[in-house]
């Protein structure tokens, strides 16, 4: 009975370990994709600064705690699937100039094309990042399962010996 149980635990541990390794690889790939999109975005931010001036695209244009309140255009929805895993989904609202303002307007009303390119690339990076967050959550869950099974295996092997 114990022998059978131990074999089952070892099989499951093998499968979970392989899953964890695949998830690690997947997360790294997604983050590299996000990094590439961010590099593209940074290049376009730099080109915008070249056109408009050094301080035209900086933290000075970002809203501060004294600015009027506004809501995020891009949010995440979390849900739990049948297996109890958490999942994030990205949702973007259309800017309507009332509740949801297009952030590009912080940088002037006629921003250069490069700023639009940068905005699109950062939106792409967000898509990759949310996917990476989903993979990371799965990886954490797999690690918890591996730890539990390792504990169980240790208990069984010590009682056997």
């Amino acid at each position: 009975m114990d022998e059978n149980e131990l074999e089952k635990i070892c099989d499951t541990l093998d499968r979970l370990t392989l899953d964890a390794l695949t998830l690690i690889q997947e997360e790294i790939e997604l983050k590299v994709n996000a990094e590439n999109a961010m590099i593209g975005g940074e290049t376009h931010l730099a080109k915008t600064r070249y056109i408009l001036g050094q301080n035209s695209v900086s933290s000075l244009q970002l809203p501060s705690e004294n600015s009027s309140e506004f809501e995020a255009l891009t949010v995440v929805h979390s849900s739990t699937d049948d297996f109890g895993s958490k999942r994030f989904d990205l949702e973007s609202y259309k800017p309507d100039n009332e509740v949801y303002m297009n952030p590009i307007k912080w940088f002037g009303f006629m921003p250069p094309q490069n700023l639009h390119f940068a905005q699109n690339l950062y939106r792409q990076a967000l898509q990759w990042i949310v996917q990476a967050a989903n993979v990371q959550t799965k990886l954490e869950e797999t690690c918890v399962q591996i730890k539990q099974l390792q504990g169980l295996k240790r208990k069984l092997t010590t009682t056997k010996s």
Binding site: V32, L45, L62, E69, A72, K86, D89, A118
Partner: protein, 123 residues
């Protein structure tokens, strides 16, 4: 999608250098709420470690934030606080920055996961 629109989603917060914050806020993640609290923090060379730590802890406590994006070099500064977070929500994602490319060996979660494959623990 229809279901999503009916329920207000949670925020993505950003702690990072100027370009990271400007970029992701341009992407639409920024918000100033009714209490005039923002969900982002620009870190520069003059920012005190305690300020970053306080901001990170504040974001962890906020129930309207589901994902915290933090530049990996900034996460390195407050590594002890980042490592102590174990809950799946908010998810903490370490992202690269302009001057610091992504290094998976420094990532808190990946390091924890790789640590599980220690040969002594496997048998």
């Amino acid at each position: 999608m229809a279901l999503h629109s009916a329920v207000k989603g949670k925020l993505i917060s950003v702690i990072g250098d100027e370009d990271t914050c400007v970029g992701f806020l341009l992407g639409g993640v920024g918000e100033i709420n009714k209490n005039r609290h923002s969900n982002f923090m620009v870190v520069d060379k003059n920012t005190a470690v305690s300020e970053i730590e306080d901001c990170f802890k504040r974001f962890l406590k906020r129930d309207d934030i589901d994902i915290i994006l933090i530049n990996q070099n900034v996460a390195e500064i407050i590594r002890h606080v980042v490592d102590s977070h174990n809950s799946p929500v908010p998810a903490i994602l370490e992202i690269p920055s302009k001057d610091h490319p992504y290094d998976s060996s420094k990532d808190s979660i990946l390091r924890r996961a790789k640590g599980m494959f220690n040969p002594e623990d496997m048998f």
